[in-house]
Amino acid sequence: MPKSKPPEKAQKSSGKARFKPGDRVRVKDLPNLFYSRTQIYVRGVVGTIAACTYQDIIPEDEAFNRDGRLEQYYIVRFRQKDLWPEYPFENDTLQTESPERWLEPANN
């Protein structure tokens, strides 16, 4: 096989993470510039940090194969009722991942 270049080494959380598990965060509703992996259905919704996972290049940069900005990623947990107001089951939740730039503190 021809040699291929390994991707940017996935780094462990460096401790510079802005949020920690349990923090309440709102997903920003930013405009999509060419590429994003932040789903429309979580935009503007408040959830809870479930885990700080890794640091990696943000999708907005990686999609264009350039040396991207590294950022802390999180798993964010939402109540299904907060995502879909008419959702009929109280206890159900949904988790999805987000890089830090898409999250802002939410105090409510």
Partner: protein, 238 residues
């Protein structure tokens, strides 16, 4: 409407939660175009591509089943899985770095195993494409990649699970895991009753692919993801 299967795709007995799209998609056309360009430019050969495809398609869900069975039997192993799943995979012979030394381009080395409890049930999806823990489970089933499953599971998880025959009481929290970035997820189901004193090998037999996606629960006697094909009530007359 009939569903066609490619020979050897393991489709026999497969039930599709969504109508299959039979025409080629833009992304498939794009993949072929990029692949042919790459071959033309000498980045890899057609033979390299064939061998890689063969390798990728030979990976099945057996490793995932082994991981679950071992975690059920060995609490210390389970603790290591929850702590660092990629590292724990090496104990069952799975190296996420294969075959390149840094994994495949879409099997990022960030595995998280989601542990079910009697009051919490996980189910995985990727709403953006079809991210799947392939080193452990092999290629995803065709229905997992359909827009039908992907868009409806996040919105109506209980209805979609019911279509797979899995009906859970409202007290059980259903947690959908949308793997939209670089983590890969797999469900560690609750060990079912009636499996006391079973060997690891016997336990692994009931941990099928669907149980690790979260659309089925393991139970004694259930050793395959068989989705019966419903006969049409009013078949088309020829």
């Amino acid at each position: 409407m009939s569903h066609t299967h490619n020979p050897g795709d393991g489709g026999a007995g497969e039930r599709h939660a969504a109508p299959m799209v039979e025409e080629i998609t833009d992304f498939e056309v794009l993949e072929i175009a990029v692949r042919e360009l790459a071959i033309e430019h000498g980045l890899f050969t057609a033979e390299d591509h064939r061998r890689f495809t063969e390798w990728a398609e030979s990976v099945g869900p057996a490793a995932g089943s082994r991981l679950v069975a071992k975690a059920w039997i060995d609490p210390a192993f389970k603790a290591r899985v929850m702590e660092d799943a990629v590292k724990a995979c090496k104990e069952i012979g799975i190296d996420w770095a294969e075959p390149t030394g840094f994994g495949t381009p879409s099997d990022y080395m960030n595995l998280r195993v989601l542990e079910d409890t009697p009051t919490l049930h996980h189910v995985i999806v990727c709403t953006l494409c079809s991210c799947y823990p392939r080193p452990l489970l092999g290629m995803s089933p065709e229905w997992y990649r359909t827009t039908n499953y992907r868009r409806r599971l996040v919105r109506w998880p209980r209805e979609v699970l019911a279509e797979f025959g899995l009906v859970l009481p409202p007290e059980v929290e259903i947690r959908v895991e949308d793997s939209n970035q670089k983590c890969r997820f797999m469900v560690l189901p609750v060990r079912p009753e009636g499996t006391e004193n079973w060997t690891e090998k016997r336990l692994a037999e009931i941990v099928t692919r669907d149980c690790m996606i979260g659309v089925a629960l393991p139970r004694p006697g259930r050793t395959a993801d068989v989705h019966p094909v419903q006969k049409a009530g009013r078949p088309v007359q020829r």
